[in-house]
Symmetry: C2
Subunit: 682 residues, 2 copies
């Protein structure tokens, strides 16, 4: 008689096994992804499976009621531990005849986790840190060996873990723990993708409390943390705090200057950012009702200056040519070395690799999240922040650069600019006929001309303009003919709108006058326009530089990443010429792609190997020394652009052909005539 | 024309190389051991060689005057740096015609070091920590990579060092050091025998100051440190200090008891022993005129209780059956974790493996030093201290045990006992006719009956008896007929000596009466004899147990190790029955074998792999549970032994057949008759 046939779903893996083979053993032999923490001892309830009964024509088998051995006492005990009705324990149920076994997602180690968020990223679970339950041999005076050696033997035999590094803090507690657990212990083991496994903890008996990880997106302005369950992949909580380094300088270069000009300045900034990470870890754990000590791993993404300051490396070299990084590879170290003292004392930290002196681990995280290197379509990924990370590529080749946009896109350096807080104008529309604006503010879904707006915003007031608001305002002004292609605001006479008021030698456009209610007058000034022009020129020039390198004039997809990217309207961004001309439907938002990349690196160790490999293949382009960057920057000053045609934009938006300065318009036309020849000579 | 023939001496390695090949390149290709720290840049002066000129019939070559290229400017510069007259730099001199090249010992990495000391050990240099000079590529903005990555590349390309672990403390200083050294740096790299290399330091430019290591023999009573040059192997200084744990208990078990009875007691003992090691490191470096920060490695040997207390592991399990070690493998860790904070901040520590719960890394060190596993002759190695480590074996098999001799052999628990300090009686002779003693004290070469003895010892006085003194005194008393085989001191009437004075219900033998000069009366009491009998019985029983395991009644060689072993006279030890009967010339002293073992492990990393391998093969015998240990212990109580014949001893010493207690003698004879039958039943 042939052995019974066992078919696992959804993998479809199949094989014949002798009657009496436990389902878990069959799964392991076939390489089916079926979890087990206790190693088949009927303790952990992880290896739950659902036998499927009846006819399965597609498999050619009929499954009888008694295809598996009868329900046993161990399984009955596990009902209290979460064994669900209709399910069996793979380590207890044995094969009796042909059977089809469903492995539910919760029983898979490498289950896929979809986060319901802007990015809808699917992450395959493959955490570096996991728990392993083992029973170890008791000491034998006649055959003496250390307790650690017998623990190593058990981990090697039961779980294939060899060459384990054991820190002194675990070794000193080992003997009492083994005895407290009556020679059964749960080991927390960090198994990196590229090195020796570390024993992070040993706890008496079978332990099943969640193991947590913290994904950190360390930005120049804000620091975001996402607390994740390392087994399920669930995000248990998120928190964001300000980067306290802001008091040493708003943007990266001012912080580098602070380090250069003040002895001990770098160390000071290292200390405050480490304190902030520690506070963030404590806060996010508390919010999720977890103990910080349950956090056994952290994955960190950040730009090169943050990267160096966090590690305690003086960033001085990043402030001057040739912008040499101290290290560009990923960094794996004890989290305690970064001052994370409240989380698990042996917790590990992983910093993603940097791409170049100005293109950091945050850009690497964006690549990990958006995977331009896996796309057929030529994809441009722009992560907009104080510094913009720009990645362009497809399966064949990927290029990256960063561009110093400055903080204008975040509402800084804008006359009425403010951070995105309640009361900040975030959306703007200007009627092209009447030139009258309406707007929405953060914290209120009504437009300013809706009934009830005044009541709804009575508490917050209308206090200023945030980043997305100023972009929309400038773009709307251009579309309404209040602003010409050179970026000049027209006078009341030129535009026919009394809101265009003289302001020194230039004009301002009045968006909102709150003085009657004791609030501010909110205008878009000529200076605001110039600040946005500088920022968007830097952004566009960076993207254009990468396109030059690839020899292309258009891209097929544009992904706007970054928390701010999520709020930018593609149409308005294109009217400003922030991004290259493309069909509007080809422009999507990826939400906080850097943060998503950190989460992927945290939950999937294979992704660490992947991004380390990918980063080496990326062509780095240094904007600061590219001769054409300056040309691109100058041409990108116009709205949307002095020379690039923006034909896709023209299909959906007609930009009024206004000009508010005859001399300037003439100059522009001359330059346009000269430009094609100049480009041809390149 | 065939290429010139190059022959290296003393290795005899030879090969043909194109004209113009540097001598260093030829040496490397042939695997000749020729040092170079700068990688052939003419900076380090390490690759010095001596060309030998003239006829070499045994090699079949004639070496012409111009067999090597002419002396060059780089070599001229190196004369100031130690290039000796008549020598050439291997990296500068190129091969022109057939040549014989002498590699002097100082130019060999793996040179052999012989220490002129009791043990005359030859150690082949193979240090785990060495310096490597590299020139690294400067950063290139157009092909960005981290400074660390380019340093890694250089170390891999020039020195074959891959997969280097770089601590944060080195990474944070890397950029400034590379620039200070104008892209030439000297790296200190720890390359263990069993794991990932560690970058301990990076220094600007070419650095040639000595790298030091510290071999530590951490005993229950004393801690000895030997400061070694890791390049030459020279011992630059040695120091010994008391183990401050003595205040918690004289012997090991009393310290374990202290840990069991006092909460925090183990931590207290850990703290003091770590402080002591730190003080020792500072002291030994200061004595040698070196900075402690030059110490980049330490190798430590100790018994299991010291081992656990040093690591911060509560030794409670070592005090109770089954005597389980927390870890038996060797331990490699950052020395800073052991509180060694004055030596190099990234210095490594290596603790030799333990053999069993009562047989520690000190026994492993004795095996490493005395190599019983490499001997044809069956060798018994006894390291006498408060605990005796006993190893028996040859090429085929090695066994080990430890035996709790107690501190009597060190002068403790003896009525006039004291440590070996000036004034302590260390040698004793008793005239068998007159029964009159003479003796020598520590710090004076004269015997007590030599003219001038009183003057020479006026300052120290005669203050007590140290360990070797009490052994000689008891053995001499036995030889002089003052003591019978059962260990009973005879009366003045029985012995004919007035020095045998009544002392309660027993007798004492007066060795020295110093009361006239205000000094003590120094006697050997019946209690002293009993203490020595207990100690020597434990020692003998341990050795006998191992001989039982091997099924032998005699051994071919006996090595007495330990600082104390150096002072024991083999004849007196055998009269006491401390050691098994053997020809006197087969008994040798190995000096401080454990300390020598520590030094070998420090200077030769292959020896670490070797002893780890050997330790696994050693059969461990637990004296505390061996049923026959008690029998052996009882029979070993007699002087020299109740049942073992000691025929070799009888060839050189006639022991008077005296008996000072008729009843006891009768009992003894009855037991002797019964014993053979008992043994046969085993």
């Amino acid at each position: 008689m042939t052995n019974p046939l066992v078919i696992f779903a959804p993998s479809g893996k199949r094989g014949r096994f002798p009657v009496g083979t436990p389902v878990l053993a069959a799964a392991r032999q076939l390489g089916v992804d079926l979890d087990s923490v206790c190693g088949g001892r009927g303790i952990c309830s992880k290896c739950q499976v659902s036998p499927a009964l009846g006819e399965f024509p597609k498999f050619g088998v009929t499954v009888a009621e008694d295809a598996l051995s009868p329900w046993n006492a161990v399984e009955a005990r596990n009902e209290k531990r979460g064994l669900k009705p209709g399910r069996r324990l793979g380590c207890q149920a044995t094969i009796q005849s042909d059977v089809v076994i469903d492995v539910p997602p919760e029983s898979q180690v490498h289950r896929q986790v979809v986060r319901k968020a802007a990015s809808e990223r699917t992450i395959e679970m493959d955490p570096a840190t996991r728990r392993f339950f083992v029973a170890i041999a008791e000491p034998d005076m006649h055959n003496p060996s250390g307790d650690l050696q017998r623990l190593r033997d058990a981990l090697r035999e039961s779980w294939g873990i060899a060459n384990l590094n054991v820190p002194l803090s675990v070794l000193t507690r080992l003997q009492s723990t083994l005895r407290a657990g009556d020679w059964q212990v749960t080991c927390t083991v960090f198994q990196p993708h590229d090195g020796q496994p570390h024993l992070l903890d040993v706890e008496a008996g079978f332990v099943d409390t969640p193991l947590l990880g913290l994904a950190i997106d360390l930005g120049s302005t804000t620091i975001a943390g996402h607390l994740c369950d390392l087994t399920t992949g669930a995000v248990l909580g998120s928190a964001g705090i300000m980067n306290p380094q802001i008091r040493f300088g708003e943007d990266l270069m001012s912080r580098v200057s602070y380090a250069m000009l003040n002895p001990g300045g770098a160390a000071e900034m290292t200390a405050v950012v480490r304190q902030a990470l520690e506070a963030l870890a404590v806060e996010v754990a508390a919010d999720a009702g977890a103990t910080p000590a349950a956090v056994v791993e952290t994955a960190i993404v950040c730009n090169p200056v943050m990267h160096h300051l966090l590690l305690g490396i003086d960033p001085v070299e990043l402030g001057q040519s040739p912008f040499a990084l101290a290290t560009s590879d990923s960094v794996s170290l004890a989290a305690a070395k970064l001052g994370l003292s409240s989380i698990h004392p042996e917790a590990r930290a992983y910093l993603l690799p940097c791409i170049a002196g100005h293109v950091g681990a945050d850009a690497a995280a964006v690549v990990l999240s958006e995977e331009p290197d896996q796309q057929d379509a030529l994809t441009l990924v722009i992560d907009v922040g104080t510094n913009a990370e720009i990645v362009l590529g497809n399966r064949e080749r990927v290029l990256a650069c960063s561009s110093p946009t400055g903080p204008a896109f975040e509402g800084a350096q804008i006359s009425s600019g403010q951070r995105a807080a309640p009361g900040a104008i975030e959306r703007v529309e200007i009627d092209p006929e009447t030139k009258e604006p309406r707007f929405r503010v953060v914290g209120c879904d009504l437009w300013s001309d809706d009934p009830g707006f005044a009541v709804a915003t009575a508490v917050s007031g209308v206090t200023g303009i945030c980043g997305s608001g100023i972009i929309e305002a400038v773009a709307e002004m251009r579309m309404a003919g209040l602003l010409d292609a050179s970026g000049l605001i027209g006078s009341a006479e030129q535009t026919g709108s009394a809101r265009c008021a003289p302001d020194g030698r230039t004009h301002s456009y009045l968006l909102h006058d709150g003085t009657a209610e004791g609030g501010p007058r909110i205008s878009v000034t000529q200076g605001d326009i110039r600040a946005i022009q500088l920022a968007k020129s830097a952004l566009y020039a960076g993207a254009r530089l990468l396109m030059d390198e690839l020899g292309v004039d258009t891209v097929e997809r544009i992904v706007l990443a970054g928390a701010f990217g999520a709020h930018i309207s593609p149409k308005h961004a294109m009217v400003l010429g922030m991004i290259p001309d493309a069909p509007l439907e080809a422009v999507t938002s990826a939400g906080n792609a850097a943060g998503t990349g950190a989460r992927i690196a945290l939950l999937n160790r294979a992704s660490r190997a992947r991004i380390e490999q990918t980063v080496r293949r990326i062509t780095k382009v240094e904007t600061a020394i590219a001769p054409r960057f300056q040309d691109h920057f100058v041409n990108a000053n116009a709205l949307p652009h002095a020379t690039d045609p923006f034909t896709e934009l023209a299909r959906v938006v007609r930009l009024p052909d206004v000009s508010f300065n005859a001399a300037r318009s003439l100059t522009k036309r001359r330059r346009q005539r000269r430009q094609p020849g100049t480009e041809g000579a390149d």
